[in-house]
Amino acid sequence: MTSIMQSETQPQLTDASTALGVAIINSKAPFSSNAGKDALDVALLFGSFEQKVSLFFQGDGVYQLIANQDGSLLAIKDYLKTFSAFEFYDIEDVYVCQQSLIERQLSKTFHIDNVQVLTNKAFAVALSKHKHVLRF
């Protein structure tokens, strides 16, 4: 993603139109369950209909963002690579729960750009700005 997009992500949060979008919370690790893929399919569909969609990663969901994963070692088609389509679908707001990262001893090295690491309070505030919330 370009640095221009990065600078755009912050102001969007306070934009009134954001309240019309959908927030999707990812709570499951990527490989053992289909939840992450199912959530991604929903996100991309909302994006393709030009609906505002933001992605939230919390709990074991944060594992979906970690760099250097390789599903092919498990004979799994690596849906994480599709995260790079976020740009194409104008999915700009990707939030991750800082506390979940810390608890899991994870660094802030992600396999996509423009991930915003938020405190519980900021995570809750960002979530509250959306009209609907789905959780997978």
Partner: protein, 98 residues
């Protein structure tokens, strides 16, 4: 921008309730249903009641608690599914923790 939180799982076996608590805001309401009823006896509930006593409203679906032989302490309102429908529209949005 208030949120209605539907809690459906036991905090004794999963961490969803903990995640829910971490995003609770003052105007929010919490409804315990299904195995979420067991959370009435969980330490997270005790600390939530202590901390946010007069802020977050905590409710439980009475039949769901009764079916599980979970005793509902005073201060937790017992509601029906019709009440959950009403709460759905009394809050700005709903998040289901399952």
């Amino acid at each position: 921008m208030s949120t209605l939180h539907l809690v459906r799982q036991s905090a004794f076996s999963r961490n969803d309730f903990e995640q829910c608590i971490s995003v609770l805001a003052e105007q929010d309401s919490l409804v315990l249903m299904d195995d979420g009823c067991y959370n009435l006896k969980h330490p997270l509930m005790a600390s939530l009641l202590k901390k946010d006593n007069n802020k977050v409203s905590i409710k439980v679906i009475s039949t769901h608690a009764q079916a599980r032989a979970v005793e509902v302490m005073a201060g937790i309102s017992q509601i029906t599914m019709a009440d959950v429908v009403e709460l759905t529209f009394n809050h700005n949005k709903v998040i289901t923790w399952q």
